[in-house]
């Protein structure tokens, strides 16, 4: 089986080769390690371009919006989400201008594909892991892709589409085996993916926590507890209907969010569930509030046994 990064690279290469007049650019995208393998073997059609550019990330971001206004589609590949913080002004101000005035179908597509350094031991300045925060600030979609199905679907439906979005890759997952799950449901806007259907528990994973959520699902299955497993991307105007339908049946919700943020995306879901299904048992797994700002493993700690124990007590009582 291919590793996460090898497989994602192949899927990106296949997708970008199919899009006409596409500009691919970024630092070191066609030399050296090709951004840790992310941009190896990329090819574009004759009308497209592959540009190796200098170290000026704010300009990279404005450049993409200029191309967009020209009607030219582009993909910016970035080594770290940290570097994209330099472009935040464009994600907000420049794109607000474009959205307020230009008809969407007159625009090119602009996608930023960025690694997110969640593998730990990166140091105080290279471990930003809060794609949802940036997307929220700019009111743009961000897709935290983890497996073959969501990578394929997001690339097919979003890459090349007019407008702007992020696709984030987890560097923690780079050497791991590429997850290959079946999908039960995929929202049209790629905001919600459902991978299993169960009647006892609803598990909803935010950011890059799907591997942990899937591991929990497997442990629950071994104990005879069936779960619906969802993964959620950061999309403006979230539609939680599929998740709510599941929660309406299970009344047991486990939410996981490994983002390093104070305002987590999962809180919006929890708020709506509280309103509609106030009796739902909720277990929320996030990072500790007091994160370590220094060099550290950056682990997203999950105690599966403790979660199962909390569920088990109630479930036993219900049965």
């Amino acid at each position: 089986m291919a590793s996460y990064i090898t497989a994602v690279n192949q899927l990106i290469a296949e997708r970008v080769a199919a899009i006409p007049t596409l500009v691919l650019y970024g630092e070191n995208i066609n030399n050296g390690s090709h951004i840790s393998g992310l941009t190896k073997n990329l090819e574009v059609q004759e009308s497209g371009r592959i540009l190796n550019v200098g170290n000026c990330e704010a300009t990279h971001c404005g450049f993409g919006f200029g191309l967009m206004m020209s009607g030219v589609s582009s993909v910016l590949f970035a080594k770290q989400l940290d570097f994209m913080l330099l472009g935040i002004e464009h994600f907000v101000n420049t794109y607000n201008f474009i959205r307020s005035h230009f008809p969407p179908n007159s625009l090119g597509s602009f996608t930023i594909v960025t690694l997110i350094c969640d593998q730990g031991f990166q140091g105080p300045q290279s471990s930003t892991n809060a794609l949802g925060d940036i997307c929220s600030l700019a009111r743009v979609p961000g897709y935290s892709v983890t497996n073959r199905q969501d990578v394929r679907y997001v690339l097919a439906t979003q890459l090349g589409k007019p407008g702007f979005r992020f696709i984030g890759l987890s560097q923690r997952l780079f050497p791991t085996e590429f997850m290959n799950l079946e999908t039960v449901y995929v929202a049209d806007d790629s905001s919600v993916f459902q991978y299993t259907q169960g009647s006892d528990v609803t598990i909803v994973c935010f950011n890059f926590s799907l591997p942990e959520g899937y591991a929990l699902h497997e442990q629950l299955s071994r104990r005879g507890i069936s779960s619906s497993l969802f993964s959620v991307n950061q999309v403006p105007k979230q539609n939680w209907d599929a998740i709510k339908k599941s929660v309406g049946q299970t009344r047991k919700l486990i939410v996981m969010d490994d983002s390093k943020s104070v305002n987590l995306s999962c809180y919006a879901l929890l708020h709506e569930i509280e309103d509609e299904f106030p009796s739902t048992q909720k277990i929320v797994v996030t990072r500790e509030t007091n994160i370590d700002f220094g060099v550290c493993p950056d682990n997203f700690q999950i105690d599966h046994d403790a979660i199962i124990a909390r569920l088990g007590t109630r479930m036993a009582a219900r049965r």
């Binding site: 500009v23 009308s47 200029g66 206004m69 020209s70 030219v72 307020s100």
Partner: protein, 306 residues
Amino acid sequence: MLKKNKTKQDPVLKDHQLTLEVLRLRYWQLLVNEGLKKKEFKIPIHVALGHEAIAVAVHHMMKSGDRLVLSHRNMAYNLIREGSLKPVYNEYQLLSTGVAGGKLGSQNLANPDAGVVYSSSILGNNLSVACGLAYGNEVLNRPGLVTVLTGDGGIEEGPFYEGLVFSKSLQLKMLIIVENNNQSMSSKIEERRCPISLSDMCEAVKIPFRSLSGNDVFEYAPALQSIRALAVEQSTPVLVEAFLTTLNHHAGPTSGWPTDPKNVSLENGLIVEKSSNDPVFVLQQKIDPFLFSELSEQVLGEERTG
């Protein structure tokens, strides 16, 4: 007196097109300033009295397919490109009949049909966007120059330097105009930073550099046409530093308060300052005084609504 109903084909008017446009631009801006005094607008508006010569010269330089990327003080360029006050004035009043349907206001006013594709109220923001527009031309094999405006405040931002390096690295057909009005909000250059030699910066990255001063539209217009040819034929960004004086306050009306020593009023005619800081005064010195009076009267007699 020249009659109002004469068209641009009239040889007299055609010969004096530059003059008429500078005068008209001044008149329109003075009308906006009067509107500001009467509090007719809810939005922040940055009048550009004193910017007429460079704006008219840029307008005349532009050819089909050329595009303009502006800053927050974009009034002169938007007015001259639109060729009429009313759609811009209506935009400032946020009316649906405005040039952008009342959605962009003043600081971000753009008018793609007139070649104004982007205006940014964030200093240093627009160079990279201009780079993308210029590269888009290359990718799509479209002719055209992208002209981007910034100022002596904008060049203090890091993305200005990035834009120079990036545009030169990609050999983009761009004209970067730095309007040096020695003013960033209310502070002069010496009050906020060390001097910056744009000539030296350009030399460092091998970008051709030109300087314009004196506010003479008859000098600026042919100079910019030569500069455009240089940028397009050699496929290079070119930087022009245009020295000028903004004759009004940073934003809002001038005068801005009852005891304001700076007095700008339509009642005083089209000349705001009797010095070379004022492009209209420079015009007056360059052409026959009677012709200047006649053309001024003609412009002042035109419909205020444009």
